[in-house]
Every structure is written in structure tokens, then in C-alpha cells.
């Protein structure tokens, strides 16, 4: 309707008498539009390492497992699964699943999908960049037509938590179109099939009427509700909000916290939030003064009025943390001590550490988080930790803090995503000695030992106990200023129903309806 008005107005403005008749080829069809921050890089589910790409693809491809809105792992293309021993999992395959071209999905397809992901040079001479997401997965074998067995080279309890990130492709189709073809064509098992990919502009999908219904643990089961789905790429956040307010789109992702009021007070739109999975922290360089001294690190934690910044800069949309893990994560320790905001204590600790006059330090941050870092700096400075913010490009900061052999910075405002909600995926890389994301340069032999045991421990309770002890040590030694876990914020139109945001930032449109 709005478009009709708009078209008519423009026609009037430019005095084009030709502008008669409506062109809507799909009048009456239910169409859902998502204003999305980035385009897919490719439509090949095995050939990217990009969250936005996965969000788009995941509406056309299903996985062996998926997650419900509470982030519980549930079977999707599998009917059920069980762990046979430390290194073996078995998956029963759901019957009656077909690809978009009508061919049935079989155990062959699942084996092919994972071979393509894990074997060297399996993708037209190249190796899937997603191989690393499958850890020590050694082989996938067909036990019988309804069962596949996943064999691991070493124990890896988080396999089920990692499987929702992989989507199943059709063996016959990939062999026909090749990896080049799969980059732009889709033949999945998901609720929507590809209509057209207008690169850089939009991805258009329509309902797949042969859909098997999706995970039985996530009602409603059945075909998708809407006829068409369009991911419309709008990178600039103000433009995305504007598109929602103007009724151009029904869902927008990455709604800036400061625009929430705007969306909430509009008659036709509302805000939806969900706790995310990305932990934000300030890494303190523990390898050199002043932050090699735990007292100074503790002082920094006491000096920061975390709640003030959450309330003012993030409009209250974040959960404060005392450690690494999200409250939703496996093994989260809820009773870690809190570093209360206490300027006097911070100053006392600084004095004890030999800095009665305070310290002068820098805080590295990449552009999008400049505001937050400046706010943190101004609060820290009031407690004697005089902080200068240095904005750098994220590629440079990753090099400076994760790759350079000698760490030269003082503090880095950064984050680490934990989509699997398993500690192995965040505590190990960020806090184990020499871990890829250990930007604080933190090294504690006991923590290393605990993490190593936990990574292969099969007993749930023992594994939790190991992670609890590690969290306690880390909280006490404070290699970071522990910050927060922000919510994922979405703006949605009120004509939308049946859709809830999910913590892993997927936008699953299977159950979404529009009036």
C-alpha cells in the first residue's frame, strides 16, 4: 500500500503519465521482509566463516541438530542421537525429508556433507574454512540407511553443541553443480527455497511446500507460515531503523540500543531482545607493568562503574558479568564474587601496588565501540587509572593483541563470541596459556590443567566442577575487567507474529507470520 502511494507520488512529481497500473505480481501473498545488516558472502554452507551468511543460509538449509529458543540443542534432520562412547556419536536420520528439488535426503547426503567439511581439499581443491568448527571429527560412516556414526579422533563433548552450525547439502546436487555452483544456487532441506539472490541488495526466498516440518521439539511443526521472505541488505543502522519505521521491513537486526525508544514509541513497531552469547571484556596486558600486578587489575575492576555504563550507553540492555561465561552457558558459576564499584578501594589497591598517584594507560578499541570505550575511560580516569582511548582498525588490533609475540598495549576493549554456549569454546581460547584469543597474555598452570581435563571429561558433573574451579581462579586473578553480555536487539513490526529472536543471532523465520 505504502509503495503504491509512494509510486504514485513520485509519478506525480516527475509528471510521468505512464505510471498507471500496479505491478505487484504477488498481490495478496504474505511477504516478510528482514532489514539485515550484511549480505551473504556465498550461499555455500561449507564455504564461509561469517555469521550473517549463516543466518541467511539457515532459512534454506537445515542441520542435523538445531537449537530451540532456549538454546537447547534438539534434533532437526536427525530424529534422535546418542553418545555411544567417548569418541562415538550415533544419529538416527529422520524419514521423509526431501530437498527442494524433490529428491529424498539420505544418510549418503549427511556423510557427504561432513566429508566435504572435514576432508582436506574436498571442495574443488580447497579445504572448507569451517573445518575448525568440527574439532577432532575424524570420520562419518553409514551404519545402516537410517543411521550415521560420527567418530572423533579424541574425546570432544561439545560435538552436539557445534552441529547446529553445519547445514546438510545434497550429494547429487553438489556433484552436479560443483562447489562453484553451490556458491549461488541452493538445494537445501530448509523451510524456504531460493528465488533470487540480488547480490549486495537482497536475498529472496519462497516457502518450500515439500518441507518436512522442522524439529519436532520446536512447535509448530509444518510448512513455513509466510509465502515469501526477503532479506534486504541495509548496512547503515540509522537507515535500517528508518526502513522499519517507514514500514519497508518487518524485522531489523542490530537495532542500536539508543534507537529502542524510537521503535518502541512508534505505533506499528516494537522492540524484541534476547540475551546474546558474546562476552565483552577489557583485556589487561598481564605480561608487563602495570597490569602484571593482580592488585592493579583488581583496582581496575573496582574502578569501573559497570552499571552506569550499561544503563547509559547500552540503555540497560546488557547483563553484567563477573567472569567469562554467559549465564546461559554450560558450567556457568553463578556465585562468583562481584567487584563492587568502589573508587576508594581502587585507589587503595593502586597505592598498595606502588602507584599512589595513579597510573597512565591506554585503552585500544575498534571504531564501532568508541563511545563505550570513551565512557569506560572517563570512569576509570576518575579513580586514578588515567586512560587514553586509542581507536584502531579491528584487523590491526587483532594483530597487535593476538598475534604479535610481544604484547605492547595496556588494555583492549574486546569480546569473544560463544555461540555453542560451551566453555570449551570461550574459556580455552581466551584464558589458556598461549590460546588464540588470550589477549591478556594470561598464564596460570592450574587453570590450564583444569581446562585440559575438562575438554575431554565425559561426566557432566565432573566437567562442571572443573570449569567452576577455573572460573573462581580467573575471577580472583582478574586478567580482564569483566564487563557484560549484551542483548541482541531487534526491531519488529506489529504485523509480525510467531517470531522470537534467538541468542545465537540466527533469524529463523519458519514460524513467523505476518498479518
Amino acid at each position: 500500500m505504502l509503495n503504491a502511494i509512494r509510486t504514485a507520488t513520485v509519478a506525480g512529481v516527475i509528471a510521468t503519465a505512464l505510471a498507471a497500473g500496479s505491478a505487484s505480481t504477488t498481490a495478496g501473498a504474505a511477504e516478510l521482509r528482514v532489514g539485515f545488516s550484511a549480505d551473504a558472502l556465498t550461499l555455500d554452507p561449507a564455504n564461509h566463516r561469517n555469521r550473517e551468511t549463516e543466518t541467511i543460509i539457515r532459512n534454506m538449509y537445515d542441520g542435523v541438530l538445531t537449537r530451540d529458543s532456549n538454546m537447547q540443542v534438539v534434533p532437526e534432520l536427525a530424529e534422535s542421537y546418542q553418545q555411544i562412547d567417548a569418541t562415538t556419536f550415533e544419529f538416527k536420520i529422520r524419514k521423509g525429508v526431501t530437498f527442494h528439488d524433490g529428491s529424498p535426503m539420505t544418510a549418503q547426503d549427511i556423510k557427504y556433507t561432513f566429508d566435504r567439511l572435514t576432508q582436506e581439499n574436498a571442495m574443488g581443491g580447497q579445504t572448507s574454512p569451517r573445518k575448525g568448527l568440527l574439532g577432532p571429527l575424524a570420520s562419518v560412516d553409514i551404519v545402516d540407511p537410517d543411521t550415521v556414526r560420527f567418530t572423533l579422533a579424541e574425546p570432544w563433548p561439545i560435538l552436539p553443541a557445534m552441529l547446529p552450525f553445519q547445514e546438510v547439502v545434497s550429494k547429487a546436487f553438489v556433484e552436479k553443480v560443483g562447489s562453484e555452483g553451490l556458491a549461488t544456487q541452493v538445494n537445501g532441506t530448509g523451510p524456504f527455497k531460493l528465488v533470487e539472490w540480488r547480490k549486495g541488495d537482497s536475498v529472496i526466498m519462497e516457502r518450500f511446500d515439500g518441507y518436512y516440518g522442522g524439529a519436532t521439539d520446536i512447535p509448530p511443526v509444518g510448512k513455513a507460515c509466510v509465502d515469501r521472505v526477503i532479506f534486504k541488505i541495509i548496512p547503515e543502522s540509522a537507515s535500517r531503523v528508518a526502513a522499519l519505521l517507514a514500514g519497508d521491513v518487518d524485522i531489523i537486526n542490530e537495532l542500536p540500543a539508543h534507537s529502542m525508544n524510537q521503535v518502541a514509541s512508534n505505533a506499528n513497531t516494537q522492540v524484541k531482545t534476547v540475551r546474546g552469547t558474546r562476552t565483552y571484556f577489557v583485556a589487561l596486558n598481564t605480561t608487563r607493568p602495570p597490569f602484571d600486578n593482580p592488585k592493579v587489575r583488581k583496582a581496575a575492576n573496582h574502578a569501573l562503574n559497570k552499571q552506569l555504563i550499561i544503563d547509559k550507553i547500552l540503555s540497560g540492555t546488557a547483563t553484567p558479568l563477573n567472569g567469562v561465561l554467559s549465564p546461559d552457558a554450560f558450567g556457568f558459576k553463578a556465585d562468583l564474587p562481584t567487584y563492587e564499584y568502589d573508587v576508594a578501594k581502587a585507589k587503595a589497591l593502586l597505592a598498595e601496588a606502588g602507584h599512589p598517584d595513579g597510573i597512565d594507560v591506554t585503552l585500544d578499541v575498534d571504531g564501532p565501540f568508541k563511545d563505550t570505550a570513551e565512557a569506560i575511560a572517563s570512569v576509570l580516569s576518575k579513580a586514578g587509572i588515567r586512560t587514553r582511548v586509542e581507536v584502531g582498525e579491528s584487523s590491526l588490533l587483532v594483530k597487535k593483541w593476538r598475534q604479535d609475540p610481544e604484547k605492547t598495549g595496556d588494555m583492549w576493549f574486546t569480546s569473544w563470541g560463544n555461540g555453542s554456549l560451551d566453555p570449551a569454546d570461550i574459556v580455552e581460547p581466551t584464558l589458556q596459556t598461549g590460546g588464540r584469543g588470550n589477549s591478556a597474555g594470561y598464564a596460570n598452570a592450574r587453570v590450564d590443567e583444569l581446562l585440559k581435563s575438562a575438554s575431554t571429561e565425559l561426566d557432566r558433573d565432573k566437567r562442571i566442577a572443573l570449569y567452576h574451579e577455573a572460573q573462581t581462579i580467573v575471577n580472583d586473578e582478574a586478567p580482564w575487567i569483566f564487563l557484560w553480555l549484551p542483548q541482541e536487539i531487534y526491531g519488529v513490526s506489529k504485523r509480525l507474529s510467531g517470531w522470537q529472536p534467538s541468542a545465537d543471532s540466527r533469524i529463523n523465520l519458519h514460524d513467523a507470520c505476518v498479518k
Binding site: L245, K312, I313, E374, E393
Partner: protein, 282 residues
């Protein structure tokens, strides 16, 4: 020269704009005395406070506050330093380099001309912003690097102008005369040719300075601005654009400041051009 200046002064619009530019420069120099607040003083309780005349505003913060509760007016006053400094320095560096390279190419000819002209052609083949962005990525952020990133490409513009003018001037009688009197090449270029080709160079420099201020704003928009807590006007506009829907003042006022300064420079330089270019004297 004097006649040109008289002509320029007679162009009231251009002269007025020149005065406006002067006012901006004075504001930049004396910003600590002019600004009502410390531009770096944050107060999260004033986050996105509206301008004084709007509900929720107060007269002490005339143009409102930014995302960290800093006074926008004070930041604009201080920001003039950064924007004008960048504009001025880029043009100074680029024009100096351009004059030297252009004189050398135009007067010495031969292989010097070939090398310089090829370099100019190659640099012109790069889109300006992409070149600057890539250089910034390479050199890292910071005021000095912004100036360099822009100057590395900017110098070709005065260079081309100077080369062309020099080619013409080198055959003029007084240059011939100086050469006959045994003057050195450096002396001829700097003492004889340069003063006579200076006016088009100045005109181009003023126009380009306006352009450089806009370019710097574009770099800020792409996240390659100066380091906090100082901010150029372009940086302020870029930072404020996220709040455009709910707090238009954060981005709009610095944008207007850029508009006013750049427009004033442009109108003044148009006046300069008309005054200095003999073709337009009736």
C-alpha cells in the same frame, strides 16, 4: 596584484566570506577562551541532551550534548582547530611538494618530466578516497597519518597546474634574459618563474582546501578519523549519524559548521579567481 586585491575587496560577497573564514580561524586559535566548557568533559547523565530551546535542554549547553554528555558547542569550537589544521596542513604539504615537482617537471623537462608525469598519471588512476583509506590502513590512525594519507595524493593537483604554467613561463622573455645572465636553474625556477605563476596556484589551493576538509569528513565517516577525545567536525558528524533519528542535533550542528566554513572558503576562492584571472576583468 594590488588591482586584483582591490577587485577582490570590491566583491562584497567574496570579501565577506573571507572575513567569515578569518573568524573561524580566530575561533580555532582562541578556542580555550571562547568555548564555554571543556570539550572532553563527559557526563553520562547529560547523554544526548537536546539544545537549549528544546524541552529538556538548558542554556549552559546551547547546542545540546553528544552521546557521552559532552557540550556540542564547545566541541565544535575546539573541532575547528582539527578541521582547519588538517585542511591547512594537507594543502601546505601538498602545494609545496606540488610546486617543487611541477617546477622541476615543467622547467627541466627530459627524464625528470617523464618520471614526474608518469607518477602523476598513476596516482590519478587511483580513486582518491580508496587511496587514502588504504594508506590509513597501512599507516594506522592518527592526525599526522590523516594529513599524510591525503597529501600523498593531493600534491598531484598543484603539480599539474604548476607544470603547465611553468611550460608556458619558461619561454617568456624575462626568463630567457635571466638564463642569458647566467642564473642557475634553481634560481630561475624559484625566483623568476614561481612568483609569476603563484596566483593560479593560490586559487587552486583555496578551492582544494575546502575539498580536503570534506575528504577528511569522509574518512571519519569510514571510521578513520582522529583519536579521541579530540574530534574534527567530520568526526563529530560521523559519530552523530547513528543518533540521527532520535538526536539530530549531535550530527547536524557540526555538519552546518563544515557547510559554513567550506562554503565560505569556496565563495572566497571563487572571488579570488575572478579577481586574479585577467580574463574576467571587463
Amino acid at each position: 596584484m594590488a588591482r586584483s586585491l582591490r577587485l577582490f575587496a570590491a566583491n562584497r560577497l567574496a570579501a565577506g566570506c573571507a572575513l567569515l573564514v578569518l573568524a573561524f580561524v580566530l575561533m580555532a586559535i582562541f578556542s580555550p577562551w571562547v568555548a564555554p566548557h571543556d570539550p572532553a568533559e563527559t557526563d553520562l547523565f547529560r547523554r544526548l541532551q537536546p539544545p537549549a530551546w528544546k524541552e529538556g535542554g538548558e542554556w549552559a549547553y546551547l547546542l545540546g550534548c553528544d552521546a557521552l554528555g559532552r557540550d556540542i558547542l564547545s566541541r565544535i569550537i575546539y573541532g575547528a582547530r582539527v578541521s582547519i589544521f588538517i585542511g591547512f596542513m594537507v594543502i601546505l604539504v601538498a602545494t609545496t611538494a606540488g610546486i617543487l615537482a611541477g617546477l622541476a617537471a615543467g622547467y627541466l623537462r627530459g627524464w625528470v618530466d617523464v618520471v614526474i608525469s608518469r607518477l602523476v598519471d598513476i596516482l590519478l588512476g587511483f580513486p582518491y578516497l580508496i587511496f587514502a583509506i588504504a594508506l590509513m590502513a597501512m599507516m594506522g590512525p592518527g592526525l599526522q597519518n590523516i594529513i599524510l594519507a591525503l597529501a600523498y595524493k593531493e600534491w598531484v593537483i598543484p603539480c599539474r597546474v604548476v607544470r603547465g604554467e611553468t611550460l608556458a613561463a619558461r619561454e617568456v622573455e624575462y626568463v630567457e634574459a635571466a638564463r642569458a645572465l647566467g642564473a642557475g636553474r634553481g634560481r630561475i625556477m624559484l625566483r623568476e618563474i614561481l612568483p609569476n605563476i603563484l596566483s593560479p596556484v593560490i586559487v587552486v589551493a583555496t578551492i582544494r582546501m575546502a575539498n580536503v576538509i570534506i575528504l577528511e569528513a569522509s574518512l571519519s565517516f569510514l571510521g578513520l578519523g582522529v583519536q579521541p577525545p579530540t574530534a574534527s567536525w567530520g568526526q563529530m558528524v560521523a559519530d552523530g549519524r547513528a543518533f540521527m533519528l532520535e538526536a539530530w542535533w549531535v550530527s547536524t550542528f557540526p555538519g552546518l559548521a563544515i557547510l559554513a566554513l567550506v562554503l565560505a572558503i569556496n565563495v572566497a576562492s571563487q572571488g579570488l579567481r575572478d579577481a586574479f584571472d585577467p580574463k574576467f576583468h571587463d
